[in-house]
């Protein structure tokens, strides 16, 4: 039997209460003034003693933090692309890649604002595998990130309990798909929706959160703990 919205909401409320309770206990026990970042990471570690790294939290917060992590990665990537443009970048490319940078920053900041104190920390990225002077290297990485992002949102929708957050994810994923198609066409015109991402039923690929993070972690220096995310 499928979950009703109430069951999901109640679970989400419950998780929230648990989280708040844990935080109160923690504050009482330490009685110390801590920075927000330290607090978040302490709570994160507290939850999984045998599994360190940034914890995403539970319920919808986990999924939103997961999206926040991916948007952090994308934003950081395009910020670098625009800061150190590749050799031979055209003005049209520069203009639209700047648009994409701004979209990803907007997404990142939106999730940060929506999550408030439940947000994970700012992640440290690692783009040492990317040659930012090379158009091919940059666009191939952009393609990988955009396709990954779309598959991540497509796969995460089923885990979102709140209708409002589901719609917000829907509002973002189609913009990521527009990016993906554009980047693919820059690399090879006509590859906007080829068979590497669309199956014979005309359906785009989905990826489960842990599979996505397994791919993304190459570019993320901060250790992530995916244990609270659906496998």
């Amino acid at each position: 039997m499928t979950k009703t919205n109430d069951q999901r909401q109640i679970q989400s409320d419950f998780d929230l209460q648990q989280k708040a309770l844990g935080r109160r206990k923690f504050l009482r026990n330490t009685g110390a003034a801590l920075t927000a970042g330290a607090l978040v990471s302490m709570i994160a570690c507290d939850k999984d003693d045998d599994n360190d790294g940034v914890n995403f939290g539970s319920g919808d917060f986990a999924i939103l933090n997961y999206a926040y992590a991916l948007e952090q990665l994308e934003a950081a990537f395009y910020i670098q692309v625009i800061t150190t443009p590749y050799t031979g970048i055209s003005s049209a490319e520069s203009s639209l890649l700047t648009d994409i940078r701004d979209h990803e920053i907007a997404h990142r900041e939106f999730f940060k604002a929506a999550l408030g104190t439940n947000a994970i920390q700012a992640l440290e990225v690692d783009f040492s595998s990317v040659n930012f002077n090379s158009r091919d290297s940059v666009l191939m990485t952009a393609k990988a990130f955009e396709d990954l992002g779309v598959s991540a949102y497509n796969g995460a929708g089923r885990y979102i309990a709140s209708v409002d957050y589901l719609l917000l994810a829907g509002k973002i994923v189609s913009v990521e798909a527009r990016h993906a198609a554009y980047i693919r066409d820059l690399l090879s015109n006509g590859s906007f929706a080829d068979s590497t991402v669309i199956d014979a039923n005309g359906l785009e690929m989905s990826r489960k959160p842990r599979a996505v993070l397994d791919i993304a972690k190459t570019y993320i220096k901060t250790k992530l703990n995916a244990s609270s995310l659906p496998a």
């Binding site: 499928t2 109430d6 639209l96 604002a113 589901l166 719609l167 993906a180 554009y182 929706a193 785009e204």
Partner: protein, 281 residues
């Protein structure tokens, strides 16, 4: 029949009844106390439907309605592209024909997938409507009457159909929140439509048919104009979930970028009104 009494009797047997029958938290409040009495007594005939949905087979009839709505839109898109690729001299040979053929084949795949999904769920796929791609409601003399001989107009209609399709699928997500597999399939189609929209917009730009980007800026039609303005109205939002996206977090985010960053949904009724001119019968 006193429907409230019936519900109370059921609730003795099934304490979760109020959880089952309500699909929204707000609705649960409406069903408790005074709100519950008013809601149920004023609309007793609703009860059967409500209970059917609560206990009924999965997916519920409303999910099949969503799938049939999607099927209608996919019929429309497929037949539009089929007619276009069958119209000699309309689409330039090479990359343009290849791209439109790719899109056409995806729409056909969506039609077939949705039919199978509906049948597999115990529903009956709706029949394909008779379309009038002039947008003339069956007269054949609507504003898009030359779309299969005028490439610029063809791409304008294609862009509008794709962008509207993205909005239509997005608007159904909430209706599928309790049917995870159907929701995921709908999302898997939704992003494909967005890829199509992006590419068609690039084709229009490359042909100088409009100053258009792969994404939607404000509620701009990309030079198509008043005929399709209603398809883009509402896309100009720069506030999401009460959060102002312009310059969010101290970042330099313009109103244009803020609106482009989020695509907006349309309701079933809005979509049906927008495509009404294309449906002759």
């Amino acid at each position: 029949m006193n429907t409230l009494k019936v519900l109370n009797i059921i609730s003795e047997q099934d304490p979760e009844i109020f959880d089952r029958i309500d699909t929204r938290r707000k609705a649960m409040h409406a069903f408790s106390g005074l709100g519950k009495k008013i809601a149920l007594i004023s609309a007793p005939f609703m009860l059967g439907t409500v209970l059917n949905k609560a206990y009924g087979q999965s997916p519920s009839s409303s999910v099949i309605d969503v799938l049939n709505f999607a099927l209608t839109l996919e019929y429309l898109e497929y037949e539009f592209y089929l007619k276009a690729t069958s119209s000699a001299g309309l689409i330039p040979a090479g990359a343009a024909t290849a791209a439109i053929t790719t899109i056409r084949d995806h729409e056909l795949a969506h039609v077939n997938f949705l039919k199978t999904a509906i049948t597999g769920s115990g529903g009956t796929p709706v029949a394909k409507p008779i379309f009038d791609f002039s947008g003339g409601n069956g007269t054949g003399t609507g504003p898009f009457a030359t779309a299969f001989s005028n490439y610029q107009l063809f791409l304008a209609v294609a862009q509008t159909l794709e962008d509207t399709g993205v909005r239509a699928y997005k608007g159904q997500a909430g209706n599928l929140i309790n049917s995870d597999d159907v929701l995921e399939a709908a999302l898997n189609i939704h992003s494909v439509e967005a890829r199509h929209a992006s590419h068609v917009r690039q084709m229009r730009k490359a042909n100088n048919f409009g100053d258009v980007k792969p994404w939607i800026t404000g509620k701009d039609t990309g030079g198509i104009g008043a005929l399709v303005q209603a398809n883009y109205d509402g896309e100009e939002l720069t506030t999401q979930a009460g959060v102002n996206i312009i310059n969010i977090g101290g970042q330099s985010i313009s109103a244009n970028a803020a609106s482009e960053s989020f695509d907006e949904p349309l309701t079933t009724a809005q979509v049906l009104a927008l495509v009404d001119g294309f449906i002759a019968a």
